[in-house]
C-alpha cells in the first residue's frame, strides 16, 4: 500500500501525485517507470517516474485522465492509498556527456521528458528543450523545463502560445539554424515521436524515443508491449522503454495501442455512469 502525500492539478485533466514509495525513490533513475494497480479490481498500467525524493521517500507521477485507471487515479485524494506500485522498471536513459542534447516533450509526455532533460544538464550537456501542447492551457512543467534547460522553446497546435504548430517544426528550424545536436530525445504521443524521427532522419542525428505500448506485468512476462525495432521484436518493458527512433515501426505500434479501444471506451463510460448514480 502506498499513500498519496500530495496532489496537484497541473492543467485540465492532467494531475500530479506524490506518493510514498521509499524503496523505489532510492533506486529511481531518469527514464524508468512504475506499474500501478490502484485497487482490488484494478488493471496494471505503467507511468513514468517524473521525480523522486530519497529523503522523503516519495516518487512523483504525472498523468492525463484518459481511461478508467487514470480517471480512478485522478479521483484519489491525499492520504488515500494505491494498492501496488512496482518499480523502478525499464532501463534508465543512457545519460552521458554528448555535448549538445535536444529534449522534446509533447503533451503529458513533457512529464517524462523533464527528468531526462535535468539528468543531461547535470551531466554537463548543453540542453535545448522543446515543449509542445494542443493549446497554452495544456502546457505543463514550463518552469521546471526552463530550469533543466539552457534554452526552452514552446509550440502549441493552435498558436495560443509561442510557435503555432508542432514540436517537430521547431526542431527542424533549430537544426536548419545550425544547432548541432548530438542526440535528440523525444517523448510524447506516438505520432509526435514518429514526426520527430522523420525530422531528424535526413540529418542523421541520433534520436531516442520512449515508447508507451500496452503493458500488463511490466517485467517481460506477457509480451503485450512488443514492438518492432529494426528487424527484431523487442519488449518495451525490459528491452526499453527507450529505442532508436529511426528503427521503430511506429505504424505497428499505433495499431497495437488501439487493440482494446472499444473495451476501454465501454469501461470508461461505465465508470462515468457509476459516478453519476453515486451522486444522485
Amino acid at each position: 500500500m502506498h499513500q498519496i502525500v500530495s496532489k496537484k492539478e497541473l492543467a485540465p485533466k492532467i494531475k500530479l501525485l506524490e506518493i510514498e514509495a521509499p524503496e523505489i525513490a532510492e533506486k529511481a533513475k531518469a527514464g524508468q517507470f512504475v506499474i500501478l494497480r490502484i485497487d482490488e479490481n484494478g488493471e496494471r498500467f505503467p507511468l513514468t517516474i517524473v521525480d523522486w525524493d530519497k529523503k522523503k521517500g516519495t516518487i512523483t507521477l504525472i498523468f492525463l485522465e484518459i481511461g478508467v485507471s487514470t480517471e480512478k487515479l485522478g479521483a484519489l485524494k491525499v492520504e488515500d492509498v494505491i494498492f501496488d506500485v512496482l518499480g523502478p522498471l525499464g532501463n534508465p536513459s543512457d545519460i552521458k556527456k554528448y555535448g549538445s542534447v535536444c529534449v522534446i516533450g509533447g503533451g503529458v509526455g513533457t512529464a517524462s521528458a523533464f527528468p531526462i532533460a535535468r539528468a543531461f544538464k547535470e551531466a554537463g550537456n548543453k540542453v535545448v528543450s522543446i515543449v509542445g501542447a494542443k493549446t497554452a492551457g495544456l502546457l505543463i512543467l514550463e518552469d521546471e523545463m526552463k530550469k533543466a534547460s539552457d534554452e526552452l522553446f514552446i509550440s502549441t497546435d493552435d498558436g495560443s502560445k509561442a510557435h503555432k504548430g508542432f514540436v517537430s517544426d521547431v526542431l527542424k528550424t533549430l537544426i536548419e539554424k545550425g544547432y548541432g545536436f548530438d542526440v535528440v530525445y523525444a517523448i510524447g504521443p506516438t505520432v509526435m515521436m514518429r514526426a520527430v524521427a522523420e525530422t531528424t532522419r535526413p540529418y542523421g542525428i541520433k534520436t531516442i524515443v520512449s515508447l508507451n505500448p500496452i503493458m500488463v506485468d511490466g517485467m517481460g512476462m506477457c509480451g503485450a508491449c512488443r514492438v518492432s525495432v529494426g528487424d527484431k521484436t523487442r519488449f518495451a518493458c525490459v528491452d526499453g522503454p527507450e529505442f532508436d527512433a529511426h528503427l521503430v515501426n511506429f505504424g505497428e505500434l499505433l495499431k497495437r495501442q488501439m487493440v482494446y479501444m472499444s473495451e476501454e471506451k465501454a469501461a470508461l463510460q461505465r465508470l462515468q455512469e457509476k459516478k453519476c448514480t453515486h451522486y444522485e
Binding site: 494497480r37 488493471e43 485507471s69 506500485v85 512496482l86 500488463v216 495499431k255 487493440v259 473495451e263
Partner: protein
C-alpha cells in the same frame, strides 16, 4: 505349513471422480473436477494394499509417506492424515489438483499393473479440501535461531523452501514481483483447473507458519541479491521460474489478436479479465481461435478461450497426438469440451487486415522423421503443403524460458547458455549463500518438481547456516 492367507478382493477400477458436464462447464470458469465425496474417498482409499515395501513414495518428488496417510484416512482420522501429508508438502490442495500423478506416485503403484492405480492425488485433494473447510490447523512457530533467509519468487519452489525453512526456526521473507503470491499457480493455471481462492489459502498457510510475503517487489530492480545479503540476509533462494514467453518468430506475429499464452493467461487468471468490466482488465476473444502448441499451457489457453465465448477453438500442433506433452486427462477434457486438434501442422506466417488485426494463418504440413535429442520424432515440413486457416485470435503456447532479471543483475552468478542458473543437486550456486531451484534451474517443468527442488534447497540452506554458525 500355514494356510495361505485369504487374498483381499481387488477392486481393479478406481472410483470415478465427479465432473461438471462438458456442455455446462464451457459456459463457466468454475472448477471442472468436483472432488470425491467422503464415501467415494473412503472407497478409493480402501483400494490401497498398504504394501510392505511401497513404491509410490519413491515416485513423489517431495517423498510424502503415502501409505501412512492413506491408512489414517481409512481410519477416518482425516486430521492426522493431512498432517502426515503436510510434513512434506505445504501445498496439498494444489498438488492434489495439478501434479501429474500418473507419471509419479501412481505410476509405481502395484495396482496399476492389473488395473487402475490408487488415485493418490484425488485422495490428497480430498484431505486438503476437508481441512480447508473445517479450518486449517497450524503448528506453533519454531523459536527463532536468528538467521534470515530471502526467497525470491512466491511460486511452488519458493513457497515450499520458505515453509521448510521457517519450520526450522529461520526468519524468512519472500519477495514476489507480482501483486499476488503463487507464481504460475496464480497467473498461469486457470480457475477451472485450480481455483485461485485455493492458491491464496495455501499461500496464507505459509504466511501463518511465520513467513513474510512481500508482493510487488521485483528483486533485480527494487533490490538486488548483493543488496539483500548486505541488508542482513544470511542466505538467498532464487525460485524465479520460467515466465518469459516464446514466440514463433514468423512474419505477422505482432498483429492485434495474437497473444502469448502468458499474456492471455495473465489477463484471464491473475487479472480476472473474464469478469470484465467488473474488473478493469479487458481481454478480446474472437470467433475462431487457434492455439499453437501441445502442452498443458496449450490446453489451458484453449479451454479458457472457449469459456470466454469463442465459437471454434483449434489446437495446432507440429507433431502428432502421441508426442503431445500435455497430460492425457487435460487432452481428454479439452476434446470433451469440443476443442479440435490439427496435428502435424506448423504456422509459417500470419495474415492481417487493414487495421492490423490477424485474419488468417498460413501453416505447413509436417511429417515425423527420426527421433531428435528429446527422444520424440522430429517434425519435418512437407514441401509445398502450405494451407491457410481463417482465424481471428491466435494464442502462442510453445513454451516459456527462464526469467532473466536476476541473472543480469547479480554479478558473478553462473548461468547456462539457455539462461538457466547453474546449481548443484542441492540448489547451491557458485555464489556463497545463494541457492536456486525450480524452473529457473531446470527450464520449464512441473509444479511438484519445483517444490522438490525448493525442499532440497531448504535442507541445504539450513545445513549451510548451521555450519556457518558453529
Amino acid at each position: 505349513m500355514s494356510e495361505p492367507k485369504a487374498k483381499p478382493k481387488l477392486q481393479k477400477q478406481a472410483v470415478q471422480i465427479p465432473k461438471q458436464a462438458p456442455e455446462v462447464r464451457i459456459r463457466n470458469f468454475n472448477e471442472v473436477t468436483l472432488g470425491y465425496t467422503e464415501e467415494q474417498a473412503l472407497a478409493e482409499a480402501g483400494r490401497c494394499l498398504q504394501c510392505p515395501k511401497p513404491q509410490c513414495i519413491q515416485g513423489c518428488p517431495v517423498e510424502i509417506d503415502i501409505p501412512v496417510f492413506i491408512k489414517l484416512m481409512k481410519e477416518k482420522d482425516y486430521g492426522a492424515a493431512i498432517r502426515k501429508i503436510k510434513e512434506k508438502n505445504c501445498l496439498p490442495a494444489i498438488c492434489g489438483r495439478v501434479c501429474p500423478q500418473e507419471e509419479q506416485c501412481q505410476k509405481l503403484c502395484l495396482l496399476g499393473k492389473a488395473g487402475d492405480a490408487v488415485s493418490i492425488g484425488r485422495l490428497e485433494r480430498f484431505l486438503a479440501d476437508w481441512e480447508r473447510q473445517t479450518g486449517i490447523a497450524c503448528s506453533e512457530e519454531a523459536p527463532s535461531n536468528g538467521k534470515r533467509v530471502a526467497i525470491i519468487g512466491a511460486g511452488p519452489a519458493g513457497l515450499t523452501a520458505a515453509a521448510d525453512l521457517v519450520k526450522l526456526g529461520h526468519e524468512v521473507v519472500i519477495f514476489e514481483a507480482l501483486h499476488r503470491p503463487g507464481g504460475v499457480l496464480m497467473y498461469g493455471i486457470p480457475e477451472f483447473r485450480l481455483p485461485k481462492s485455493i492458491v491464496q489459502a495455501e499461500a496464507d498457510y505459509v504466511k501463518k507458519l511465520g513467513v513474510e510475503i512481500r508482493a510487488s517487489c521485483l528483486v533485480g530492480r527494487t533490490f538486488t541479491i548483493p543488496e539483500l545479503l548486505k541488508q542482513g540476509f544470511d542466505a538467498v533462494f532464487i525460485g524465479t521460474g520460467a515466465g518469459l514467453p516464446q514466440f514463433l518468430g514468423i512474419p505477422g506475429e505482432n498483429f492485434g489478436g495474437i497473444y502469448s499464452a502468458n499474456e492471455f493467461l495473465i489477463r484471464v487468471n491473475l487479472m480476472k479479465a473474464y469478469t470484465f468490466p467488473e474488473c478493469d482488465t479487458p481481454i478480446r476473444i474472437g470467433k475462431k481461435v487457434a492455439v499453437i502448441g501441445g502442452g498443458n499451457v496449450t490446453m489451458d489457453s484453449a479451454r479458457s478461450a472457449l469459456r470466454l465465448g469463442a465459437e471454434e477453438v483449434c489446437i495446432v500442433y507440429r507433431r502428432s497426438r502421441e508426442e503431445m506433452p500435455a497430460r492425457q486427462e487435460e487432452i481428454e477434457n479439452a476434446e470433451e469440451e469440443g476443442i479440435t486438434c490439427k496435428f502435424l501442422a506448423n504456422p509459417t506466417k500470419f495474415i492481417g487486415d487493414e487495421k492490423g488485426w490477424v485474419k488468417a494463418m498460413e501453416c505447413i504440413c509436417m511429417e515425423l522423421g527420426p527421433p531428435d535429442e528429446s527422444g520424440r520424432r522430429r517434425p519435418i515440413p512437407v514441401k509445398g503443403s502450405e494451407f491457410v486457416m481463417d482465424v481471428d485470435t491466435i494464442i502462442v503456447a510453445i513454451g516459456r524460458t527462464p526469467n532473466p532479471i536476476i541473472q543480469s543483475t547479480t554479478e558473478g552468478l553462473a548461468v547456462t547458455k539457455w539462461g538457466t542458473i547453474v546449481a548443484d543437486e542441492n540448489g547451491k550456486t557458485n555464489i556463497e549463500g545463494v541457492y536456486a531451484g525450480g524452473d529457473i534451474v531446470t527450464g520449464e517443468a512441473t509444479v511438484i518438481s519445483a517444490m522438490g527442488a525448493g525442499k532440497k534447497a531448504a535442507k541445504a540452506i539450513h545445513e549451510y547456516l548451521m555450519r556457518k554458525n558453529s
